[in-house]
Symmetry: C2
Subunit: 317 residues, 2 copies
């Protein structure tokens, strides 16, 4: 059975399922539905930061550490410049080679896929499949820029924001939304001048940021990823975050939040697709189109009338 091969972690069937989900194949959706009761166990870790901050190198080092502990790892790369996505920065691609022959590591790149609008949906699906495959940890690597990437990062239990000294006014450039959900700040390339200033600025910023009740104060870790320095500390911070989440309601809350986000994302898409298909059949649609074309009404008002027609609500002016 297909389900069983994926639950056993076989790469071929899993990769095919991911592709079929992307192609919107109905039977792929049915397979994911059957896999769903087996999901929810993986620790999903988001890692974000500017291109060149060393995210991929850090990810690579984290993979090694997780593997040494006997944990299996899935990686979803969204950053087009990531070596995981075929890009090559600072020779990371060479260093990543060891993992490509390791059956305990499964890497999937979504960097070159369609437009951003669908990325959070695809990412959620890929994370689910890796989760069902039994991966203990799923790392989602993304550049912290757009709104969609913020949505992607919301899929994670633990969010790592990578900063480097010397890239100018670095802390200012993180999206406010990402700052608010960061669990761990990594100051990478900590041997560069200015690293301590970045740590100081982050600390000051965290004092301003309100920490919700029962929430861990975000941790700050200095690393030199290319030399593996600070990785033990980072692994402790990750483990500490996971333990804290699982000791209280945090883990369950994050899972529910993630389910709700994905549910609403699908709702928006499906609703629009179905509504668009039935537009011609709604009462007075011809009148709306004619009035719109004649500029007697504006697109906003036309949309209000169409929505009322689709949802069967009382007529609006």
């Amino acid at each position: 059975m297909l389900i069983d091969t994926i639950l056993r972690g076989e790469v071929g069937p899993a990769a095919r399922l991911m592709r079929d989900l992307d192609d919107e194949m109905p039977q792929a959706r049915e397979t994911l539905r059957q896999l769903y009761p087996h999901t929810g166990r993986a620790h999903v870790i988001g890692i974000t930061g500017s291109p060149g901050a060393g995210k991929s190198c850090l990810t690579n080092q984290m993979i090694s550490h997780f593997r040494k502990r006997g944990q299996t790892v899935g990686v979803v790369a969204i950053d087009p410049s990531s070596p995981f996505s075929g890009g090559a920065i600072l020779g990371d691609r060479v260093r990543m080679q060891p993992h490509t022959t390791d059956a305990g590591v499964f890497v999937r790149s979504l960097a070159t896929r369609g437009h951003m609008g669908g990325l959070s949906r695809s990412t959620g699906d890929v994370v689910d499949v890796m989760d069902a495959m039994g991966k203990d940890v799923v790392i989602v690597e993304t550049v912290g820029v757009g709104q969609d990437e913020l949505e992607i990062i919301r899929l994670a239990h633990t969010t790592i924001v990578v900063q480097v000294p010397g890239l100018g006014d670095e802390i200012q450039s993180i999206k406010a939304g990402i700052l608010e959900i960061a669990s761990i700040f990594v100051v990478n390339k900590a041997d560069l001048p200015g690293a301590d200033m970045v740590v100081r600025d982050l600390t000051a910023m965290l004092q301003i940021r309100a920490t919700r009740a029962r929430e861990l104060v975000p941790q700050i870790v200095k690393t030199e990823a290319t030399k593996g320095k600070g990785l033990d500390e980072l692994m402790v911070a990750i483990e500490r975050d996971r333990a804290h989440l699982q000791s209280g309601d945090g883990w369950t809350e994050k899972q529910q939040q993630r389910l709700e986000l994905r549910f609403l994302d699908y709702l928006r898409t499906q609703l629009f697709e179905q509504a668009r298909a039935r537009l011609p059949s709604i009462e007075k649609y011809g009148e709306i189109v004619t009035a719109l074309a004649a500029r007697e009404i504006d697109p906003y008002t036309a949309a209000r009338r169409a929505v009322a027609g689709i949802l069967g609500t009382a007529k609006v002016a």
Copy 2:
């Protein structure tokens, strides 16, 4: 009357209306609805290209040329690095000063507004208000990157794609969708080495690209915007595009396309907002949420059931 002051082109009331539209004030929507019959006359010109390609400098020169002909101009700047948005590249801000005291020029920056998802809606509203104000030309300046910006460019009658030599494999970096809707290619900084190669590459590319019936073959114009060189040729190309559009069905088709895009954009948003609000009242919603939380169903299936409940369609499995 507010309507009249805007139709007369008064800046204060127009700027307030734009802000109120952004804030989703119901009376602002009503005002725009009343203005709508007075829109559809402005020539909307989209200008896109990489940061540093000289879009703002070109825009600035175009403004001067339109003003010399007695035409009024509105500018909507989406590019955060644009001097129109408060950024300063190559000292353009200084050169732009003359226009800031010219009542025939109205500049609005949307660069720092909310998330990208809403940008195409806001841009459409701002273009409509400028159109109602009687601006003869509305220039929309944007960097050619994301999907949302592609939507924004679709609002234009005439689309100018700015290229510069020496930025590497430049032509490859334009989004395919933007290439397909370009009316004019500007090769700016034409004094730099490689300019002729860019022209040659564009010419070759345009021979491959299928030109639709009744469509002008996209024009290629070399400029040195900082010195004003090539601007006369660019103005001729813009005028030629406008005349061609208005001589056939092109103008009307573009207007209808733009209306449809905006209508569907509003439809998606309003549908989702209203559907979300009525989720709790749909039959068996409690069951869906419970099954989702228990991972008995996946978010995709849950969304299908909710959509069926909202749209009142036959139950799905």
